[in-house]
Symmetry: C2
Subunit: 308 residues, 2 copies
């Protein structure tokens, strides 16, 4: 047995990510004790029943006291409040990290709230599903995925090292970058895809000529893939867009320009340009599969009953 990385870890926010983290930390024995806390009494009760933490605290100070590492796993818009709630109770030299999907805004909101003796190492595991809440979590969520760590003025080398060691032990590969660069990379790889998925599902719901039941029946033509990520938590995503406004609006501008170009090709029957555009996107798919970030099986390997 190797030594656990931390004596006590406190996780604040026990949804998909917080509960997956707790499960992964227990599975790999990365802490002697994992204590969980959530703002919602209902989530605390369910988490107690699920039993993925050593203990569920009834107050945030009980959770945080004596913890060497505190993980903030609440929606981005709740990070400032969560940081304020833990600040007075942090052990001397405690490390605080977070898992928020936006980084520059979290650094702005959290860094100044924490006492001088604590270190802050912002992080973002690029792993998730469309489900939320403590029941949705599982230990291997971070296995084979990337985790971005974005050191800031409040990070020390030692604290960054320990947070990187945690994610590595959970099976993730860690990449370090600035909070600002993180926000533009995630705008294109995650935030805009979610915005567009939410948008098209809304457009479909509002068409007068097509009934809801037709949309549902014929969704296997492509639409259903978009509905998966459009089923993600509304509060989490509201907070992402409000807190990564600049990068999202910039990438969205590019997306709309490019879409206008495709629209024009269709309007003017420019088949060659359409075909050229469609052909160049295949290489990216191949690279994503080669990098182990998706399955090559047709239809994501959805059950189809292949049997010939």
């Amino acid at each position: 047995m190797t030594e656990p990385l931390f004596d006590k870890i406190a996780i604040v926010g026990l949804g998909l990510i917080g509960s997956s983290l707790a499960r992964g930390i227990k599975k790999h024995a990365l802490a002697t004790t994992v204590t969980g806390f959530d703002g919602s009494a209902d989530v605390r009760a369910r988490s107690k029943d699920l039993g993925f933490c050593d203990s569920i605290a009834e107050t945030v100070d009980e959770a945080v006291t004596d913890a060497q590492l505190v993980v903030l796993a609440v929606p981005v818009g709740a990070m400032a409040a969560a940081a304020q709630s833990i600040a007075p109770h942090l052990a001397d030299g405690a490390i605080v990290t977070d898992v928020g999907s936006v980084k520059a805004a979290v650094v702005r909101q959290v860094a100044d709230v924490l006492p001088a003796h604590a270190a802050f190492v912002p992080g973002h595991p690029v792993a998730g599903t469309e489900h939320s809440g403590p029941e949705a979590g599982f230990a291997d969520l971070f296995e084979g995925r990337w985790c971005v760590v974005t050191p800031c003025a409040r990070s020390t080398d030692a604290s960054v090292e320990k947070v990187v060691a945690l994610w590595t032990a959970l099976g993730s590969t860690v990449e370090t970058m600035t909070p600002e660069h993180h926000d533009i990379v995630l705008a294109i790889t995650s935030h805009i895809p979610h915005l567009i998925a939410y948008n098209i599902v809304g457009t479909a719901a509002d068409l007068e000529d097509v009934t809801q039941s037709e949309v549902i029946k014929f969704s296997a033509g492509g639409f259903r893939d978009f509905t998966r990520i459009a089923a993600s938590d509304p509060v989490m995503w509201r907070d992402v867009f409000l807190n990564n406004k600049e990068a999202v609006l910039e990438v969205l501008g590019r997306f709309s320009e490019d879409l206008a170009a495709l629209q024009r090709m269709i309007r003017w029957d420019d088949g060659q340009s359409l075909q050229d555009h469609f052909a160049r996107t295949r290489a990216i798919r191949r690279s994503i599969i080669d990098a182990g970030q998706d399955t090559a099986d047709a239809d994501f390997g959805r059950p189809h009953g292949h049997d010939d």
Copy 2:
């Protein structure tokens, strides 16, 4: 044993759909003989090796002669040429059907080319994967999916009945509508999702601030779902957009308007409207899962190693 529905079926075009059809027809014994033909000598040779047809014809007239049913399974832009090539060889009273993803344009291009003694029943199985070619096909592709049949002036009641019986026997549920209505329904459930997926993958490839390798690494944040359908066949999709121009441009206009509204909510920090919009799209996801058109498993049931 029940009687096969047809004596001889000829399939013209042996890609994903044509070869899946041949496999399904053999599996369910829906014809005494299935003969295949493809414009490409290479595809004919590979199809012969794969052995999913009783025979692969070297010429289209050999394939079509004596067939009671001829299925056109070529890209939409090749339907007119395929119809011309079969027309002189059609048996008296033969039924011609197609599987094209667009219907009004196919009816316009095909109906007049066929001899008066033949019937034409346009169809579209709403089932597919991102892969193409004869190797990608499988017998159960149509199982549990919808198939749209769009009778036209050249359809007779008897011919429609036989085509419906074929799809039903393959496990599909058939819905009948006009070609024009089909084209608007499929514009929102399939064509626009593909256009948008192709577009965002292109936008990602062109950003200066984000490297290709970053896009690939962090694609699990949502982007990778879009790359799946953006890996579909460029020729097939070029033809879809060129042949369903009006409906695509109309729905695209709505999509862009709705996206502009979301953009404005972000710009003006209107969190409540964002959250409301994101909340209403969840119900559609639930209905699609309840209707058996997708899996409820997190991440489409992608292998994640759930084990707790």
